[in-house]
Assembly symmetry: C2
Homo-oligomer: 448 residues x 2
């Protein structure tokens, strides 16, 4: 059997490795358009933060290991331009300009996503860059060194923008951030968002909410980022306004897509074509809270989906069906940990729930224990069913892993009351007797 | 209605406060045998660690606040010696030697536990002390100062013994630990227990497993701890071989007790007498994994049970039934976090499960992220039902709150496969893409 994979990062290489391990006789070919495979994309801001550190440190497994030790036919510099489901082939062009065509019995589309770049003047100038692939990271690092970047503008204030602002501040680069939305972190309760905003500003970052960038202009050796009533000059501009699934070939090949044009897959990761799977940032998923389709591009899902595809192509026993995503994520910005899982109250209303919510402020350690800091939690439940729907947390410690307890509760479809009864760990250095999550659940119960 | 409470710490004062808040007209009386109420007992080792810090810092709410602001009739120095269920009274003696008797309509026994002290020679010598009440902590602190303690022997290596060993080492006191069992932490997988042992030894603590203390003898101004083939001298001896529920009065009053003589209660915290409740370290609980009775004295349960009793005495709406305990706990010893939840494989066999288990060793942060340390996890599942049964973890970071995700899974009766599908948070500073819990679950699945 010929198993062909488009894309050589998390989902693609997870699938390739697992397929080859469980079915050594299978011909596994991976077509990767860049020269990089299997790297920790999420680690890029932390690598960029350190001058002189090779971006290649983020490569988890070298291409030659996949080729020589694992027997995977891994072809880098191969850009797929078309999928032909009837012929069961894909075609494209190499970086050297040679055309290629590969047949498949089973195809996995793991093309990931790309940074959204608005079609405004100047976004194609040198020094204006997005961050998604290792090559993006490589270019940003090289640009900082080559142009001795002292001032940067980051467009967008999502988690990549915020991680990048910390990275650039670590390199003593002046950072200005700008975006059209007036809310700093719009998916977050105001009280929590404000804490994050203060932390970012305390680290010398200038935030400008409410400004849509209209164009970027070259000014001598640098750039001017021009909004309606604000202009900021910069040596470098990072565009971090989100990513979009790389689904063009899938759409052209006739595959169904859904939310944000992500490729539609079932719980077995199968697309609308029975021989084609999709996994990773290019594919959608079911949300465990709403039961509906969602598109939340995150690394764990990509790896997990890659494995599931390999298992389902192997086809032994019952098929692997993925439960879905809770949208659990965490990021760090300066000294703060910011985490979320599930849905917001706005989303809850949209999906027909009757949300109750509470924001609590408590401490990260026990009464009288030194070193305690503030933890804030926002918990959302459904008045109709009693179910827990989502949560957000902010704090200097004890946030990143605490959110997982709530994520598990969402998978288990727990009610707020059931969650409030859970027996969570307590010791003075790690939290109050009533864990912040339980305090939040207890308070939320009063509003339901 | 007269609500009488025996014991003024976590369970007792939680019940008193909540009862008075929801039923201001109720006469709430608390009889506490010591002079201290409402303190963070778990914080004592951390307080003892700091010379000159008042042990009273651990008091969460002063007695006079309960009396004057909350209107609770709080009587300290009142030792209850008998419960008379037929007469609905309790009787006892004050510290001043005066006899008393109080009537009740509803009684809560929240008498806590006491350190186990073996009936061997010398365990009653001055300088030989257990640690449970604030008064114990006060005595230990005073003894260290007054006798200029330079050397200590700790008998027992449970979490209180280990927390105390860190506290004493922080005060530059030489520490020897001794116990009869050859296994350092017997409820833990050897690989994990060994990591903790090495950490304790690296901090200059001398461990002697396999030695039963037979007597303690006074030697000039100090003490000699004598085992069969080992004698160690010490200025102070801490006895930390466990605690036992304070259930004598309950037993004498005819109430049913169960495991380890803890007072038997139902899910509403009611004892075998319909007017008497029990909560906290003196009472038993249902275990969420086994469904059977267990006795795991922990602070969260005490607080939660106190609230539940107050709610059930109020009696509005449906009664509050507690789900049970998972036995989730965490403690810190030097630079390590040690956590557990659920049952061990030994316990699993005892309760009729067919346990599969796995120990994994992974990293606390993502590939290539600086500052990463080792995390070890031991996961136990049931081959018959597929259920997750328990877990233990050890590491320098990311253990204390991670265990809660597993605790929630135990409450939800999740299978290992369901848990393996959960969408946990990922960011490079906080863990690998595959969270250690998921790696453990994936590995465990192969053995089930």
């Amino acid at each position: 059997m010929k198993f062909l994979i488009i894309g050589g990062d998390a989902a693609g290489m997870s699938a390739a490795s697992r397929a080859k391990r469980s079915m050594p006789e299978m011909a596994v070919t991976v077509l990767e358009m860049t020269r990089d495979v299997s790297y920790s994309a999420c680690g890029m801001p932390y690598n960029i933060a350190v001058s002189g550190k090779a971006i290649e440190d983020l490569v988890v497994r070298q291409a030659d290991v996949f080729r020589q030790k694992q027997g995977i036919n891994l072809l880098t510099g191969h850009r797929v331009e078309a999928i032909h489901p009837t012929e069961k082939t894909v075609s494209g062009t190499t970086l050297q300009g040679e055309e290629f065509e590969f047949p498949y019995d089973k195809l996995l589309i793991a093309t990931g996503g790309s940074p959204i770049v608005p079609d405004f003047p100047g976004f194609d100038l040198p020094g204006v860059m997005g961050l998604k692939s290792l090559d993006h990271g490589r270019k940003i690092k090289a640009y900082i060194d080559l142009h001795n970047v002292k001032k940067a503008v980051i467009i967008g204030m999502g988690y990549i923008g915020l991680e990048m602002c910390e990275a650039l501040r670590n390199r003593s680069i002046e950072v200005v951030m700008v975006k059209p939305n007036l809310n700093f972190i719009p998916w977050m309760a105001d009280e929590l968002s404000y804490v994050v905003q203060k932390e970012v500003e305390a680290n010398g970052v200038n935030l400008h909410m409410g400004h849509l960038v209209q164009k970027i202009e070259p000014v001598n050796d640098s750039l001017a980022v021009v909004c309606d009533d604000l202009t900021r000059d910069a040596d470098m501009v990072i565009v971090a306004i989100g990513i979009t699934p790389n689904s063009e070939c899938a759409i052209a090949g006739g595959l169904e897509t859904g939310i944000k044009k992500a490729i539609s897959v079932d719980r077995q990761l199968k697309t609308s074509d029975e021989n084609i799977y999709a996994a990773g940032d290019c594919a959608d998923a079911f949300h465990v809270v709403t039961g509906e389709k969602t598109w939340i591009p995150l690394a764990l899902r990509a790896n997990r989906a890659g494995w599931a595809v390999a298992d389902n192509i192997r086809g032994k026993g019952k098929p692997t069906e993925l439960d879905g995503v809770a949208g659990t994520s965490v990021f760090k910005v300066f000294d703060l940990q910011i985490a979320r899982t599930g849905i917001t109250s706005k989303e809850a209303i949209k999906f027909g729930f009757d949300p109750a919510e509470v924001v609590i402020k408590t401490r990260s350690r026990a009464h009288a224990h030194p070193g305690s800091t503030t933890i804030m939690a926002h918990l959302i439940g459904d008045r109709k069913s009693g179910r827990l729907l989502g949560a957000q947390m902010v704090g200097k410690e004890g946030v990143a892993h605490r959110i997982n307890a709530l994520a598990v509760a969402l998978h288990a479809q727990m009610t707020v009351e059931q969650f409030s009864q859970t027996d969570l760990a307590y010791a003075p250095p790690f939290g109050p007797v009533w864990d912040p999550l339980l305090t939040a659940a207890n308070q939320l119960l009063k509003r339901m």
